[in-house]
């Protein structure tokens, strides 16, 4: 199946991007990202997988040690172009670091003056929707309130790209839904692009059309979510006696991600052709064959743990 990025403009692209910190720790060691304009890309990975380091490199806050990366076609490791990148990008950090001593209304007015493309219409809309108390000191806002304020500032500055580091962490379901809705609206409205890291696979499932899974600094899965959903299948065979070992099946079929034997059951996770595997397994005379779709959560757990126990 043709990749949905074919022919489209890439807002973010990295090729074999690496970052080694001074202490020798290699936080990112081969990251390949392709985020087309107008898409929402969910960025998944375990704690310490390299998500925040990646985001910092995209924003020019830390320099890559190898590989290349471009945002809006501009090199992320060039000081001048990195300023241009930040001018067109709204960033909501994990800490939602805001000026704590200001009140919310002052902070909004202060930020609005910095950005000539400030969207007063969006400001009014999100003030109403997010119910931000204008006279409250920023430091007294709840976690949800801080997030919504940070998001409002990022949305209203007229940015083409939003980069968010775990925007919904610690939020209740209602606040989470409001944040997701704002991200959808950003893409629906003006061909905006969203790149957000998350631990909530369900919300990536819900709003993303692309996903990148990073494990130990490397991309292990990257692509259009619908393509992944259509490609990945779990094929389960049940046998009369203990499930046979099947090295031939493994050797001949492409796309096999994982094989598990448990008693009479043989389970194969593939992102290739389930039919080809079934054809090959026919000679083993299974008594039953099931093909099931695979959720993003399963793909995540399988690719991340496989990497963990393997290489």
């Amino acid at each position: 199946m043709a990749d949905s990025t074919a022919g489209g403009i890439l807002t973010i692209e990295t090729i074999d991007l690496r970052k080694q910190y001074d202490g020798g720790v290699e936080a990112v060691r081969g990251l390949n990202l392709r985020v087309p304009a107008g898409s929402i890309c969910g960025f998944l990975g375990r704690n310490g997988a390299g998500k925040t380091t990646t985001i910092k490199m995209l924003l020019g806050m830390t320099r890559p040690t190898a590989g290349s990366g471009r945002v809006f076609g501009l090199a992320i490791d060039d000081l001048v172009s990195s300023v241009a990148i930040r001018r067109r990008t709204g960033f909501v950090s994990d800490e939602k670091d805001l000026y704590d001593s200001m009140d919310a209304g002052d902070l909004i007015r202060f930020t609005a003056r910095l950005f000539p493309k400030w969207r007063a219409d969006l400001e009014q809309q999100y003030l109403r929707r997010f119910e931000i108390p204008l006279s409250a000191r920023v430091r007294t806002l709840s976690r949800g309130g801080r997030t919504k304020l940070a998001l409002l500032l990022a949305l209203c500055r007229g940015a083409d790209l939003l980069i968010l580091d775990e925007p919904t962490s610690g939020l209740d379901p209602a606040a989470t839904e409001e944040v997701l809705q704002a991200l959808v609206a950003h893409v629906a409205a003006a061909e905006g692009t969203v790149f957000f890291s998350s631990h909530q696979i369900a919300e990536v499932d819900q709003i993303a059309d692309r996903v990148a899974i990073i494990d130990k600094g490397r991309t292990v899965v990257e692509g259009a979510l619908d393509d992944l959903r259509e490609r990945y299948r779990r094929v389960q065979f049940v046998f009369d006696a203990d499930a046979p070992a099947v090295p031939d099946l493994l050797a001949q079929s492409t796309g096999i991600q994982r094989v598990r034997r448990s008693g009479r059951v043989l389970s194969v996770l593939t992102n290739g052709s389930a039919d080809a595997i079934i054809d090959r397994a026919r000679a083993l005379r299974p008594v039953s064959v099931d093909v099931a779709t695979v959720t993003l959560k399963e793909i995540f757990l399988e690719t991340v743990t496989a990497e963990d126990s393997g290489a």
Binding site: G38, Q181, V184, V187, A188, T295, E298
Partner: protein, 138 residues
């Protein structure tokens, strides 16, 4: 109109949305000539990706079920057989409902029932067909 795709189902959301639009047409919830919600409002209402809604609409147009009029929106294409299909589907619904009812009465869980249906459909279709399940109507 109530579309409710389930993102964590493992089935592409655009396929679920397509099935639900078809279902809405077959049950008469939306009729020939009527307008479907716009891509942007529907995406915001369901809080799903607008590209996903656009893809579902494109595919439905490709299948001749809806018509995308430039700038005006998506409209259900009139069909001669829509009335007959509606009746057949209503009858089928009651068969399914009674099957589900009696399976539940035997103590099966909804998940078990769903798997049985899916396994049976997969079995009948043979190994060659690409499964196109969608629309999680429990």
């Amino acid at each position: 109109m109530l579309f409710r795709p389930n993102p964590s189902l493992g089935v592409p959301i655009y396929l679920q949305l397509m099935e639900q639009v078809k279902h809405a047409i077959e049950t008469g919830a939306v009729r020939a000539g009527e307008q479907l919600p716009g891509i942007r409002p529907l995406a915001e209402q369901l809080v799903i990706n607008p590209n996903t809604v656009a893809k579902a609409y494109r595919e439905l147009e490709h299948e001749g079920i809806i018509e995308l009029r430039h700038g005006a929106g998506a409209f259900v294409v009139p069909r001669e057989r829509s009335r007959k299909a509606t009746d057949a589907l209503r009858a089928a619904q009651s068969i399914v409902a009674s099957a589900v009812h009696s399976l539940r009465a035997r103590g099966l869980t909804d998940d078990e029932i769903r798997r049985l249906f899916e396994a049976d459909l997969a079995g009948l279709a043979g190994a060659g067909r690409k499964s196109r399940t969608g629309g999680d109507r429990g």
